[in-house]
């Protein structure tokens, strides 16, 4: 049994890497038909593997299904971190905190919706939109008064965002009673209780979660990103701890009894299907790749290479640091939203800052500044650590799975000694390659 399982697990890891390679090859193809077909086939393959049964056995059983979703969300979080750390050079430990913020925000929206309370969606949605508008308005104002100290700017942004939140709560509470009748009763469900509406609410919830995480990261990053790299790392660690502490106390010091503090939030509707996970994953990968291979991406990378030189080249270093941080957190927030609705249960323990080193390890493992590396490492890591090792070790004894936290740091140490640039270094696959070759071909064919 052990040997069979071992071989099967390795086959699975190889298969998933081949799958990713094929997907990126198709996405990077010149022909649009191949592109679309590749994405559809990639979606269908996993969808079939998750549903079709050959007698008793399924290609991806329920355990593997969990791993697939976990790998998808981990990819989103780790890609965001790679943007912040790998491409922009800001060592951040806060990524896990933004992941948690996204998870709790999205979960709260759909949870409340399911208990016929539209306030979650209303308040969070209005708050995020108003907050975003406020930030834009204040940034206009700040630009007019040159040389304003960062802390004064931060205070202005904070006040306006708190104001936006207060307005959102007020409006949400005012509109909610009008919407409640539309939910109907449990016996006669109203229009808002229909499954289709719930799917839309889920989509909105994930997007709002991402936007909310992004806005929080903006407020946090604005003053903190002025710190030098090491100090920034410490500050972000502090942030991750604050977020986790707040999660433990959601029902005491925060007014969210449904989150149940340290006992964990239960009853989140399990709405994440493979379709949604795949959709968000592909969107994030495409956005990330297009961002990196544009002038903005080059500006982001120049900040990592040499801040002073970037300034002398006309790059607004402070802006691009903040920009990369906010976009990275946006990805983490979306990942959190997807995760919450796949697992259906959120516990503050999941968002402990120690666990938060996982995306960091994945990013370093796959290669800093390599998108392929991050994606492959996320999938490989989840399938290896959570899939193979856990099951294999559990054969040895009930406490044995803990050994994986001894084995994989050793693996990491060996990797750092033997291949410090990460497993894949600078290698990018298909779609994720620098598209200069394509531009050259076009220019030559002109």
């Amino acid at each position: 049994m052990e040997l069979g399982f071992l071989i099967l697990s390795i086959v699975k890891i190889v298969a998933i890497l081949a799958y990713l390679y094929g997907l990126f090859w198709a996405m990077g193809h010149q022909n649009k038909i191949v592109k679309v077909a590749g994405i559809v086939i990639a979606f269908a393959l996993i969808q079939l593997a998750l549903t079709v049964k050959f007698g008793e056995t399924q290609i991806l059983n329920d355990f593997d299904r969990g791993l697939v979703f976990q790998a998808c969300t981990m990819t989103m979080v780790a890609l965001g971190l790679n943007l912040i750390y790998g491409f922009n050079g800001q060592f951040s430990l806060a990524q896990w905190g933004f992941y948690g913020i996204g998870a709790y925000t999205a979960a709260d929206i759909t949870y409340r919706w399911n208990v016929r309370d539209a306030r979650g969606l209303l308040v969070a949605g209005i708050g995020v939109i108003l907050g975003g508008l406020m930030i834009l308005a204040v940034s206009r104002l700040v630009r007019r008064y040159k040389g304003m100290p960062v802390l004064s700017q931060f205070t202005l942004y904070l006040i306006s965002c708190v104001l936006a939140g207060a307005i959102a709560v007020y409006i949400g509470n005012a509109i909610n009673p009008a919407l409640v009748p539309l939910f109907g009763t449990p016996d006669a469900p109203g229009i808002l209780a229909s499954p289709a509406v719930l799917q839309v609410v889920f989509l909105l919830a994930v997007l709002i979660a991402g936007a909310f995480a992004a806005e929080v990261s903006f407020l946090f990053g604005l003053p903190v990103l002025t710190l030098g790299s090491d100090y920034f790392g410490i500050a972000t660690l502090g942030f991750a701890i604050v977020v986790q502490t707040l999660m433990v106390n959601t029902d005491t010091i925060l007014p969210f009894p449904e989150m149940k503090g340290g006992r964990g939030m239960i009853g989140i509707p399990k709405l994440t299907t493979w379709f949604w996970a795949f959709l968000f994953l592909i969107i994030i990968i495409v956005v990330m790749r297009n961002l990196i291979y544009s002038s903005t991406g080059r500006a982001i990378m120049s900040v990592r290479e040499d801040e002073t030189a970037a300034k002398a080249m006309g790059i607004d270093v402070a802006f691009y640091k903040l920009f990369a941080f906010v976009v990275g957190s946006l990805f983490a927030g979306i990942g959190g939203g997807v995760y919450a609705h796949y697992i259906g249960f959120l516990s503050p323990g999941t968002f402990d800052f120690l666990v938060g080193f996982n995306p960091l390890i994945i990013v370093v493992f796959g290669g800093l500044g390599s998108m392929t590396g991050t994606i492959a490492a996320s999938f490989g890591w989840i399938f290896f650590l959570e899939g193979l090792l856990r099951v294999l070790l559990s054969q040895l004894g009930t406490e044995a799975p803990t050994w994986r936290y001894v084995l994989y740091p050793i693996a990491l140490l060996l990797l750092m000694l033997l291949r410090p640039q990460g497993l894949l270094g600078n290698v990018e696959w298909g779609f994720l390659k620098r598209p200069v070759a394509a531009l050259q071909a076009k220019a030559a064919g002109r």
Binding site: G147, M301, A312
Partner: protein, 277 residues
């Protein structure tokens, strides 16, 4: 002002000043790194700023390019006061610079190094990049072609896909100057361009500096230790010591100035050379 210290008559219609610095002072704690510094650089000039180590030359450059905020004083660039502006705003106004210790983007290719300098004039926004609009395609291709042609001017096209850190030292210098020029400056500040170069390389650098000035219609201000370079190519020289200007003039005048000799070689040497006050 140069005119007062200058013995050669200024032509009737002197070009307009590009850079005017008045009473520039920078204090670090108790140290006056730069004290009451004045300078005027006219359009098309190739001027030098020299002085012993620690004289405050690089501090002046850092204040012009906005990396340091002056304690007091004004810096006018085509009549606009630069004090209080962010470094990237100053670059976008048209002041390019290189650094004493080369500051390329080491892990980016030579082509990308130049493309970064084009970023403020990219011609497409973030959204164009994200959705890969037609505008992005056109502008990006234009930018890359422009960067290639640009590197070809300097004979650097064969390095375009190399990582900047893998280039030989002299070539890195040339790439750094090329990158500074890609940001389309009107005034170029060169901080010790000949540092670490051998005589043959310095000879080529001098030709190179003349070439870029004529080709790009530039005004150049350079800091240098290599006397051969300064004396050969600079038209006007300002000498600094301990944060203060001690002499100005043409290379010949500066070379014979007793305070300059003292600053470089010491009081005794100045006496032995037979230069008396």
């Amino acid at each position: 002002m140069i005119a007062t210290a200058n013995t050669t008559p200024i032509p009737a219609q002197a070009p307009e000043p590009v850079l005017e610095i008045h009473g520039l002072t920078k204090v670090f704690g108790g140290l006056r790194a730069v004290s009451n510094f004045d300078l005027t650089v006219r359009r098309g000039a190739l001027d030098g700023l020299i002085g012993p180590n620690g004289a405050g030359k690089t501090t002046v450059f850092n204040m012009i390019s906005g990396l340091y905020t002056p304690t007091s004083g004004d810096i006018y660039f085509y009549g606009e006061n630069l004090v209080g502006m962010e470094p990237h705003e100053i670059t976008q106004l048209g002041i390019g610079r290189t650094f004493q210790n080369i500051r390329l983007f080491p892990n980016l290719t030579v082509l990308t190094n130049v493309l970064v300098a084009y970023h403020p004039h990219a011609g497409y926004g973030l959204l164009d990049g994200l959705v890969r609009s037609r505008r992005f395609d056109v502008k990006e291709r234009e930018m890359i072609e422009r960067a290639r042609d640009f590197l070809a001017i300097f004979g650097l096209e064969r390095y375009q896909d190399e990582l900047a850190k893998n280039l030989p030292y002299g070539e890195q210098r040339r790439v750094e100057i090329a990158r500074a020029l890609a940001s389309e400056p009107k005034l170029l500040l060169l901080d010790e361009p000949a540092a670490g170069m051998n005589p043959a390389e310095i000879g080529r650098l001098m030709e190179y500096i003349h070439f870029i000035r004529d080709r790009f219609n530039l005004t150049i201000l350079l800091i240098e230790h290599q006397m051969r370079l300064v004396m050969n190519i600079c038209e006007q020289i300002t000498v600094m010591d301990f944060g203060e200007v001690i002499a100005r003039g043409t290379p010949a005048e500066v070379q014979n100035d007793v305070r300059v000799i003292e600053a470089y070689l010491g009081r005794g040497a100045a006496a032995r050379q037979g230069v008396s006050m």
